[in-house]
Amino acid sequence: MKDILRLMVSLGLVCAIGCAALVFVNERTKAPREAVEQAVLNDNLKLAVPAGLDCEFDAARRLDYDKVTFHRAYRDGRLVALVAQTRGHGFGGRIYSLVGLDPASGAITRVLVTGHAETPGLGTQATDRKEQKSLWKASELQPGEVPPNAFLDRFTGKSGEASYVLGKPEPDKPGIIEGVSGATYSSKGVLQGVNRACKVFREHRAELLN
């Protein structure tokens, strides 16, 4: 009996001290972590709009819907950029993405995956925009541009109000997007996020373009 008590107390103490240490570190790193998150979101929002469009996103004019948040940028009282922050389910959990929409035409300007837990080398083929670096050639990327991703770039120029499915592309069916072989679940996760953003845009177009 006494022995069991000793075991309980010692294991309990180790857990309590461990918890206290985690609480301390969590509190101390909370502010810097949130600042980092906000800065990263701001940088990413600017990458989702066409290159060269200089704009500041207004946090006060954000619109929240079910699973989708729309960020809007104004210049002289006129809406110049619209970006949907959305998510879908991939192979390793949620895939967070940004879908840039052109306020004038309603077309998708760029899809950018901002957070995921997909398998490196496989699922990341459908999510990551990575420039191929070379020992023999300098980077040719301009500021504001993002490296290409064959899958994500298939959405560019498509309607922001349609609903998309994975499949073999046909010329007369713009709603079919070709996925990445070896990364089917990741492709589906990205597609689900885009579809959610498109659905909200379809249903709340007037309010969003206000």
Binding site: L7, N26, P120, G182
Partner: protein, 226 residues
Amino acid sequence: MKSYLKEFVKGLWQENPVLVLMLGMCPTLAVSSSAKNALGMGLATTAVLAGSNVVISLIRKLIPGKVRIPCYIVVIAVFVTIVQLLMAAYAPELNRTLGIFIPLIVVNCIVLGRAEAFASKHGPVLSLLDGIGMGLGFTVALMALGGVREFLSGGTLFEYVVVPGWPSFMLFKFPAGAFIVLAFFLAAMNYRKMRQALREGRIYEPPELDCSRCHICSHDDDEHHK
């Protein structure tokens, strides 16, 4: 002084956790698809290993033998979470590329293995050196494996093109490729040992990989605390 150096160096080659002790195969096979991932995972593991080894060595006489393993796991998990939080706050770039690998360290059996086999029997300074040495040995083995796999699969190293026009060879990106490359590494290690034995006039006998060779759980709890 000599023994300190010995504890540090042994993890690098003589008792390399991956190539000799055959510990931590799961992260080894999973994360060695590129040299960069391997380097990050190795360094994060080294940090956790050094920290947990020191703390476990400090509390080794206070915790009863019967609950020592749960206590070690709690200590290791705390360290992994702290590393994760610190990385998210102060090294966001690193966190973005390595974020998903960090929680994997909790289940890395090298960390628990060194806690039980070394830190629970030695002082904090020796345990620290053992942790750093083992961590660096893990990093080096992982990077060698990752470098070979990354190069064979795409002709790149640390994501830089080394040989332009190298055909994409996906096999080495997949887990099957990890097994194949690891097998060649282990075969090379064995070949070296066989030649060495031959030179010394012995006959090389491969180590038996059963419980008789490992002393991690052979001692009972009372003996553990003498």
